[in-house]
């Protein structure tokens, strides 16, 4: 059984660790905290593996643990959400989103209230339904809908073309991104 659990867990980690890390990163904006969250989630997942595998709930459990761990950390006064000053933003974009788009989206995402950000990440990064998101977060579907609506309103406003130019200029200057 040990090898069975180990093999299955290892396969899952290989397949999913990156996505869990990126989820945590989108939630907290700090790669070190994100790594802590993922390590915690995976350790819990390993211990819970037989039941989660039996219930075909491995993904849900890992995802919820990441989100809930972030919730727990957010409640600690010494780990409150803080403005973005992440060195990761200094890295040049390689493809897809331009640096400007990336910075603008990141800034807009960071400006969301933590609850709104969680909803956005679960719904638009993980692609969960309203009901699934409500289950993950332990809130009502109505709250999910209202938070999503509010979050999208903020994002639309922040990502509007005129505002985006201003934002990215400021951000690049602050971060010293080489273009």
């Amino acid at each position: 059984m040990r090898s069975t659990r180990d093999e299955a867990f290892t396969a899952y980690v290989v397949a999913r660790r990156g996505q869990l890390f990126r989820t945590a990163y989108l939630l907290c904006g700090d790669p070190h905290r994100a790594e802590d969250l993922v390590q915690t989630a995976l350790a819990k997942l390993y211990a819970a593996w037989p039941r989660m595998a039996r219930a075909d709930s491995v993904d849900a459990y890992a995802r919820r643990t990441v989100v809930n761990s972030h919730l727990d950390e957010g409640r600690r006064p010494w780990r409150r959400e803080r403005p973005t000053d992440d060195a990761a933003l200094d890295r040049a974009a390689d493809q897809g989103l331009s640096v400007e788009d990336s910075d603008a989206l990141w800034t807009a995402l960071r400006a969301l209230a933590p609850g709104q950000r969680r909803v956005v990440v679960l719904r638009h990064y993980w692609g969960l339904s309203v009901e699934e998101t409500a289950t993950d977060l332990g809130i009502s579907t109505g709250t999910v809908k209202s938070q999503t609506s509010e979050a999208l309103r903020h994002l639309r406003s922040a990502l509007a073309p005129a505002g985006r130019d201003d934002t990215t200029t400021d951000t690049r200057t602050t971060k010293g991104i080489q273009r």
Partner: protein, 430 residues
Amino acid sequence: MTSHEQHEQHELPGLDDRLHELAERAPAPSTAVGDDLQRGRRRLRRQRLTVGGAALATVLVVGAGAAVGPGMVDRAQSPDVAGGTDGPNPTPSETPRAQKMMQIEVGDPRPVPWGTPLDRNPIGTGPDHDATLVAWQEVLAEHVDPQWEHLVRRDGSNANQQSTAGSGQVLALGSRYGWQNPGQDGLGMLQIAVNRGWREAMHPCHDSGPDEGWQCEAAEAPEATEAWVAERDGQLSVAVEQADDGEVVVLTADPLFGNNSRIPVDELGLSAEALLQAAADPRLSLPADYESAPLLDAAEFEQAGRDLLGPAGADLRVRDASLPQSLHFSGAWRDGRRVLGELSWEAVATYGVTGELVCQREIYVRCEARTVDGVDVLVGEVQQQWGGGWEVTYAGPVYEVQVAFEPKDGQLPIERGYAFVVDPRWQPEG
């Protein structure tokens, strides 16, 4: 998708893709899967609760009524049929075997505290290889620390073991030995892993090229088919495939023994050549195949589950997810079109390591222990988000046996779970 959701999507098109692109830029650290595995094992070890003996001698005994939770139908409340007090009763009769199995002696429940600290070996690691790991440390010392000025001798206070085993074979075995520098507070480590082959080995230079941050070089070692040296930020790791048996020895020197210290030593002062020489030593070889647990008869185990757990005549559609020494059956228990519950039963070889059971806060509402026919059984009330119901587990000397029931429209007397898990047929003698 609701109209509201469609509205949301249309209001901010492309958000999903943009989030994915943004997330892809997260600077993911290079973390070995093996590290996640070790952390998981440590957590599992911490969460296992000592059942029986001294740990439970100090807890209070509470009444049976107070200790039985939702979905956990007690004999006193529902003598011998399924259905519960307010649900349907689809099982008016029991088989003689089931009736017989109900004659078990069940002791009073004992609450089990969360997070009892444990120092024992984790369950399911295969045999204890302490003697082998002590001998390997002696071999390494001959090569890299003949005066024992740095290596911390392996003993009961610092012993650790990482192993992968299956079907009577040790596939990988290793340990982390402490490394101290005189006059320094920190603790480094020299880690060894001997693997059946490259498939089991974890080394940053093999397979898909260098892992992030590692510098790799092909190397040579005595009597080696293949050898690699990897370096990263003060860490030095060599891998040697020994020509005689194809086993791959991985030695990693790290200034920080991450599990046991926050303070690194300045350096280990070990050269790649010295580690290659050590890794090529033929005495670093996996122990012989161990005597694995006798295999259970999977068909008998499945049928027993049908006979003893499910009610007579129940429609139990069983899924089989069994492996040798790890039997697992599960199925939906139906009455016509109604699903009365999800039932599963499994047996997992324990390799003789017993006495510790899981009570994990993320899974259970709470746990309790009961003495059933003279042995200690753990009962967990499962959180609703994972389906609710109960799990009954007995970690026997040969197999750990568990029954789980997630109620839908029906209930199942928990005594059936007790009777099944302590059935002596699941603890065969060699």
